[in-house]
Symmetry: C2
Subunit: 323 residues, 2 copies
């Protein structure tokens, strides 16, 4: 059995390839050529919440299940809030073939998914990207979205002033683009053409009324039934697209609560895979905003894990042959 490390994933998975794989996973799922059963949640009172996320793309050599463990108190004992492991099995025999460290893979596939959505939903001539959050996923989103759009500037906001300034400085340096720490969420909401919220917030992170017409918002952080990253004002004026309608209606507060509160009807929600599959153009009124809400699909992990294993297995074989 292979043990696949974060370093292996970094080495074997270029960002552009991740975008291609994620787009294909959405299309295959929309065509019924992949399976993404509802994730299972198990919560330990006073302890970790765990998600079990199996997925498979028909015809691929492996089935993957991602096991996510989340405990906001983990940093107190020097552990990450979220721990992610992906187990891969031979699709025919079921023999376990690999255990994959899942944190980097997830941050990449999530940003790739946002890039796929942004590519199809955002206008072509955008100038400013706005980012809420400074965690690992914020780090992957900045270079990833630049693969689908040219930005002049990136605005970053998070509640901790020191952290957002450090993050902006590092991102500017790493990616050779002006990244500015904004003093308020208001500034980011007003000036951005494309926004990404990658937070663990329970309440909306900006005022939806401030968002410019024809801009595009990706809300891809908190995805539990009571948590929200965006408000009803934004949802009301948006064409809403989700990664999975079923998962959205069961688990995303950003979808469940606006429906419950009458800000949007269930029938108005579109699914990204359907749009990609039918090569639909999302036509919206001039004043409209597009909103992509995503909590992450197991089938994306399965698609990417299978790709990484495919790159790794011949190398392992070659090593064996030389030994």
């Amino acid at each position: 059995m292979l043990h696949v490390t974060e370093a292996d994933v970094k080495r074997l998975l270029p960002f552009s390839k991740a975008i291609e794989l994620v787009r294909e996973a959405y299309v295959r799922l929309a065509r019924g050529e992949a399976v993404n059963p509802p994730r299972v949640l198990l919560s330990v009172p006073g302890g970790a919440s765990m998600f079990f996320m199996p997925g498979h793309v028909y015809g691929q050599g492996s089935v993957a299940v991602k096991v996510a463990r989340v405990n906001a108190a983990n940093p107190k004992v020097s552990l990450p809030t979220v721990l992610l492991t992906i187990y891969a099995y031979d699709a025919i025999t079921g023999v376990q073939v690999a255990e994959v460290e899942g944190e980097w893979l997830t941050a990449v596939r999530t940003a790739a998914s946002t890039a796929v959505a942004t590519d199809i939903l955002a206008g072509k001539s955008v100038k400013v990207m706005g980012v809420f959050g400074t965690g690992r996923e914020a780090t992957t989103h900045i270079p990833m979205l630049r693969l689908v759009r040219d930005f002049d500037k990136i605005l970053v906001y998070s509640r901790d002033k020191g952290r957002r300034e450090l993050f902006a400085e590092k991102m500017s340096r790493d990616h050779g683009i002006p990244v500015v720490a904004a003093d308020s969420p208001r500034r980011v909401a007003r000036e951005s053409d494309v926004m990404v919220t990658v937070t663990t917030s329970d309440t909306p992170v900006f005022d939806g009324r401030l968002v410019k017409p024809r801009s595009h918002v990706n809300a891809i952080g908190s995805a539990t039934p009571e948590a929200r990253e965006v408000d009803n004002e934004l949802v009301k004026k948006s064409t809403v697209v989700v990664d999975s309608r079923k998962q959205a209606l069961e688990t995303y507060g950003d979808i469940i609560r606006p429906i419950r509160e009458g800000a949007i009807r269930e029938s108005e929600i579109l699914e990204l895979g359907e749009i990609l599959n039918r090569k639909m153009k999302v036509v919206h009124r001039a004043s409209d905003v597009t909103l992509f809400k995503s909590g992450g699909l197991a089938v994306l992990d399965a698609m990417i894990t299978d790709y990484v294993l495919g790159k790794l297995v011949p190398q392992e074989r070659a090593k064996g042959a030389r030994a």
Copy 2:
């Protein structure tokens, strides 16, 4: 992280302890002190079917998920039909603590579950045990059921004459009790006071009309929506008890089909944990048979895994201290 082998499990888990743990798991689940979310199934067309089974008993140190992979064609490539791995995580932080080889543990917990059911549902003075099947689970059921009842004789039937004779011979020798290979299912059904079906059959393995009044049947093999081990005749004259009502109504052909065919009503089905928890006595008419149908609960795996890890971790620590 610990890698727990079959040999570790054999060494650390006495059969009598397994019965005690399984009984406690059923009671804790019935009291709402454990979680056993619905198992997730993922089927690969032309390949393996995989079940993901998370479970946890509140207050225990670990959460376990069993991943079962089943492919009836595996023996053609010298692999077992069923592959079972249990992953255990720290209940508070979510850190993975162990990977456990699950085949023996499952065979023991399944037999222990049957023993718990038999202990509470079968008459006290029984003489003959009948077993359908000669696989690993048949092997654990014979010594396990002898811990809750005294039998004079055991009858065994499986379709392959050579295999059932070998199995009977080996079991007689290993356990010092007459184990007889029966020439027909009819003989087993007619003569047994307690029966166990541990088969992968899709169709009933004996004629329910032949079963003696007041006998007890454990149907614990096939548990998919279309498969049956017992017929409507048996179900009609039985008090029916299941390991989980929810799981039974969703996945056990032996429950779903008799309901659909009018042989029994959903409301008549009892749950083992409720009986154990309320210390209910299952009162039945003189002519009645009791039937226990079980497909296996993740919470039993979680309970036993936690016990095995508890036995192992101090040993590992002691080893570390000596090193």
